[in-house]
Symmetry: C2
Subunit: 201 residues, 2 copies
Amino acid sequence: MARRSDHAPEELKHLALEAARAIVVEEGLRGLTVRRVAERIGYAPGTIYNLFANLDDLIVQVNAATLDALALVLVEAARAEPALRPERLVDAYFDFVESRPRLWSLLFEHRLPEGEDLPDWYRPKLAALISLVAEALGPLMPDTSAAARQAATVTMWAGLHGISTLAVSSKLALVAETEPRALGHLLVRRMLGGPAADATG
Amino acid sequence: MARRSDHAPEELKHLALEAARAIVVEEGLRGLTVRRVAERIGYAPGTIYNLFANLDDLIVQVNAATLDALALVLVEAARAEPALRPERLVDAYFDFVESRPRLWSLLFEHRLPEGEDLPDWYRPKLAALISLVAEALGPLMPDTSAAARQAATVTMWAGLHGISTLAVSSKLALVAETEPRALGHLLVRRMLGGPAADATG
């Protein structure tokens, strides 16, 4: 506990978020407490409470970083030529979820106490993700209104979310012989008016 | 605690499950403990432990009853003529989720301790639900293999699950102006090769 003045507040915040992230990767939400974050970076719990209002605040900020990381991989996937984008985006999504299932689960497992709303910056962050995908898939949804493209994109997002959630909790394998990722490709292909069978094999 | 011998074991099991169900409807998983179930039916906690291995076992049995109830409403919806079935099934699903959001959430919120599997009867119950829908929608998926119908049905199920999960946790409304149910109809319509816009309005 002697490190109290080793770091500037911004550095310390970064360290605390990294420590929280590492705990979630290793153990999931269950293992995450302010005390353990503090121990991990060698500060007292009180120091963490100077940086974050409470554990919920800390978790929301870990989630914000997860959404930012997801946005980056989707932007990268959306660089492909339009016809390839659906497949690239679905693969990028599943690569992301499969490479950090616990961080991804934290986005949805964690609920704020009843009556508390997500912070103001959360909604635009999520909306930007949806817009980025709606725009990338725009060329594949010609003659559609912006509202219809938005509805289709949200439906694809929710659908991929459902597939991944059921896969992570081992429920999908109970009834599907098909890989979650293949179901994701099927979903997005069909939402864009494509065939039921995968032409590429 | 004087009621120890008022009920036969089967009756008592039924009473305990009803009490657990009522607690979940009122408060969700958070409020559910063996002690509170026991209090509610006027027995000692030990009596509950004679009927159920533990709280997880009790929860799995509440979930089994929820799946049975869902199967009943889907069977009813599937009685419509084939062309109307997609819409009826989606409405039945959302009616079910919206009328008992906490019981429905319990199906997915509750996780068995690591290393424990769901009981043997769980998988056939879930598989029967999927088969019932795959068969009901069969006439709308002509020229498709049984495997493809199964994959499409599982994808619709996972998609509706994703939409409902995000709706229940208030995340869908952050990015969608469309009602969850309308997204569900869109999803199923597209999965069955139908148009992006709703012809009925």
